[in-house]
């Protein structure tokens, strides 16, 4: 039993490592604040209050966490299948565009039909934008990191083209202001409000998606195939798993969830329009990248990604409050965001290492395995440690011949 306790402690340490990494990044940020002549204590206390200090703050955090959770859940699927999806930014844009077009071109219908329709349109748009790099990787051995980055560039230009031209609000042309945005989209497609005047059903949908993804990955044959491909392509191939199709599917699913995030952003926005400032981050708020961090913070487990997204959403909302409070340019938030990404990713290797020691010990002590898997099944978070390290690191973008 003593070994078991040690391994549990090590596991707690492993899970706290990404959080410690976030704090390390914030410490770095404090140094930057001092150099900028701002008070870091005031800054960070404003940050905490701004993220969690009031009902409004909590709602803002929840709404900010929603796209992170959608994207993060998709990232988990891709990672588990051994694929890195850097293209969620573009997939969110496509999801938003498809959803907006659905609302613009479909006839007016009751909310109960309209909302699912526009969300499905978002899923299709994002899924398509994920399928392209997925198929390119699976069938043409094109490195998905590069193809997804290129597709992000294509997506942002496509968005600018559509919102300046075919989809522009006719009123913008009449007024001559030509702000690149759609007209106010069909009211029947507004996401139903749960509470107050801002909190829509988006967060609930995101949590449902995360739970569904957990079931998909650990309770269905398809999920088994996805994870098998991520753990060892060769072994998966010998087991008769269609590796190529599975890889393409992983990126398609990942893109579909990002697309859903895009649709939720459009129909959950206060303006109920799709607007562009000419960058992807102007639309996504960087959720396509930060969703990756949320997924890593959550140990690449869909359920742990829920609290991780909430934490990271709070960080973003709080960051904006910090920036307003100490009067530093908002570019600081982008730089800090980059630091958080670097620290969390760099720390991830150590988390994986601690867990690897853990699973070796378990293997040498069979009774522990049984204990643990029962305990995990009970909490529903069991599989966090069983496959996480290898599925994420031993992957080779060129190996999918």
């Amino acid at each position: 039993m003593s070994i078991n306790i040690g391994s549990k402690q090590r596991r707690y340490l492993a899970y706290s490592i990404p959080v410690l990494a976030v704090f390390a990044a914030l410490l770095f940020g404090a140094i930057m604040l001092v150099l900028l002549g701002a008070d870091p204590f005031k800054g960070y206390s404003e940050m905490f209050i701004g993220a969690f200090g009031s009902g409004d703050a909590l709602i803002a955090t929840l709404l900010k966490a929603t796209p992170l959770l959608f994207v993060g859940t998709g990232i988990v699927i891709a990672f588990r299948a051994g694929v890195i999806n850097i293209g969620a930014e573009g997939q969110m844009v496509l999801g938003g565009l498809f959803a907006a077009m659905a609302a613009l071109y479909l006839p007016e219908m009751p909310t109960i039909i309209m909302v699912p329709l526009v969300l499905i349109a978002g899923v299709i748009g994002g899924g398509l934008w994920g399928w392209i790099p997925g198929a390119l990787k699976a069938y043409y051995r094109v490195n998905e990191i590069l193809s997804t980055i290129m597709l992000n560039i294509v997506a942002v230009q496509l968005m600018a083209y559509l919102l300046r031209g075919p989809l522009i609000d006719p009123a913008e042309i009449e007024r001559g202001t030509r702000i690149p945005q759609t007209a106010r989209l069909a009211e029947s497609a507004d996401l139903p409000i749960l509470f107050g005047n801002r909190l829509h059903i988006g967060p609930v949908l995101a949590v449902l998606c995360a739970i569904a993804t957990y079931y998909l990955l650990w309770r269905t044959p398809l999920g088994y195939r996805l994870r098998a491909v991520g753990l060892s392509e060769h072994a998966a191939r010998y087991a008769g798993i269609p590796v190529r199709r599975t890889i393409a599917l992983a990126l398609t699913l990942s893109g579909a969830l990002a697309g859903l995030a895009g649709a939720v952003l459009v129909f959950g926005s206060e303006s109920h329009r799709m607007v562009t400032d000419g960058s992807t981050m102007g639309f996504t708020g960087g959720a396509g990248f930060n969703g990756i961090v949320a997924a890593l913070l959550g140990g690449l487990h869909p359920l742990w990604t829920i609290p991780a997204s909430l934490l990271f959403g709070g960080l973003i909302v709080g960051g904006q409050a910090l920036q307003r409070a100490v009067q530093v340019p908002s570019a600081l938030i982008v730089a800090l965001n980059g630091l958080v990404v670097i620290f969390v990713v760099a720390a991830d290797r150590y988390r994986a290492k601690l867990l690897a020691v853990d699973s070796r010990e378990e293997a040498s002590n069979e009774s522990d395995i049984d204990d643990d898997s029962e305990a995990h099944a009970a909490t529903g978070m069991g599989a966090v440690h069983d496959a996480a390290p290898d599925g994420t690191h031993s992957f080779d973008p060129e190996d999918s011949s």
């Binding site: 900028l36 890195i84 850097i86 390119l136 043409y140 051995r141 094109v142 490195n143 990191i145 590069l146 193809s147 980055i149 290129m150 597709l151 560039i153 294509v154 230009q157 496509l158 600018a160 083209y161 300046r164 031209g165 960058s279 960087g286 990248f289 990756i292 890593l296 530093v328 340019p329 570019a331 600081l332 938030i333 982008v334 730089a335 800090l336 965001n337 980059g338 630091l339 958080v340 990404v341 670097i342 620290f343 990713v345 760099a346 991830d348 290797r349 994420t392 690191h393 080779d396 973008p397 060129e398």
Partner: protein, 310 residues
């Protein structure tokens, strides 16, 4: 369309293509060193942005373009060391940590610009150096021999890079570490040492690329590179990890960019379609990736951190 293909326009487009190719060329050459040794640095764009700002700021303060270039190179070098610490020592997942470096550079360069400069002030640009005799050849002179010194130097770096990669011990070590790190390690080559060296070369060249960009344009603004660093990474694949291929790729991209710019200025591309035209480089890249992936193979240890005995 006919007025596009007049000689004068094509000469101007070619000359500008060469200028636009140089930042891509430098950044891409640097990235090649890293990738040949097994490290993918996805943060090139961020390093370029910080190099660009530093170069711009140094020229603004000193009035000396060469000091500006030096400053850009030093910042690149420092960030190259940082990239190596993250990718080699901490063994971070390179596909993601690079995005962090990019975001850091994107935010930091903008932050520094707003804090230290505020409103854009134009700076001196590199003086043009006419190559004696050659610059006087009609058309050819204007296209190829009326550029600044950095442009000539950048193209001169290509044979140097090829030589280093193929004919020196250092180059052999780079390739060995990128293909068979275990074997290289057994033979006493320091895998980490080589990778640190290539990341530092890559960072320095990326910083210089940013500096060249800013000092050629004589200006800095938020997100000045507009994703050029990512195109530079793609060019490494495009050029199949060979300096000559990278040069051809950089020239092709320079040409596409110059042509699109010219067509916009001549208002041949209507304003509404300029976004569609701006997709061209990314789409060409994707198609090129398909083509390259069928014929060439990436270094087999690319993105794989090295741990002895694993």
């Amino acid at each position: 369309m006919s007025e596009v293909f007049t000689t004068a326009v094509m000469v101007a487009v070619t000359a500008s293509a060469i200028r636009l190719a140089v930042p891509l060329l430098l950044a891409s050459l640097g990235e090649t060193f890293g990738q040949r040794s097994g490290v993918l640095n996805l943060g090139v764009d961020g390093i370029m942005l910080l190099g660009a700002f530093t170069g711009y700021y140094a020229v603004l303060k000193t009035g000396n373009v060469w000091l500006g270039l030096l400053a850009a190179g030093i910042v690149g070098l420092v960030l190259g060391v940082a990239s190596a610490v993250i990718a080699v020592t901490l063994k971070a997942e390179q596909g993601i940590s690079g995005i962090g470096i990019y975001l850091f550079g994107l935010g930091m360069s903008d932050l520094l610009f707003q804090k230290l400069v505020g409103t854009p002030i134009p700076i001196d640009t590199f003086p043009t150096v006419n190559v004696p005799l050659l610059a006087d050849i009609p058309y050819i002179g204007e296209m190829f021999f009326q550029h600044s010194l950095v442009i000539y130097l950048a193209f001169a770096a290509i044979p140097v890079a090829t030589f280093v990669m193929n004919r020196t011990t250092f180059g052999m070590n780079i390739r060995a570490v990128g293909e068979y790190p275990d074997a290289a390690d057994t033979l006493g080559v320091s895998v980490s040492g080589v990778r640190y060296a290539t990341e530092i070369i890559g960072g320095t060249l990326a910083g210089l690329a940013g500096g060249v960009l800013a000092i050629t344009l004589g200006i800095f603004q938020q997100n000045l590179t507009n994703g050029a660093g990512f195109i530079a990474i793609a060019l490494v694949y495009f050029g199949a990890w060979r300096p000559i291929g990278i040069m051809l790729g950089a020239l092709l991209f320079g040409f596409v960019n110059a042509l699109v710019l010219e067509l916009k200025t001549l208002e041949i591309i209507p304003r509404d379609l300029s976004n569609i035209a701006a997709m061209a480089p990314a789409i060409i890249t994707i198609l090129a990736l398909v083509f390259v992936a069928r014929r060439f193979r990436a270094p087999s240890a690319l993105t794989k951190p090295f741990t002895r005995g694993k």
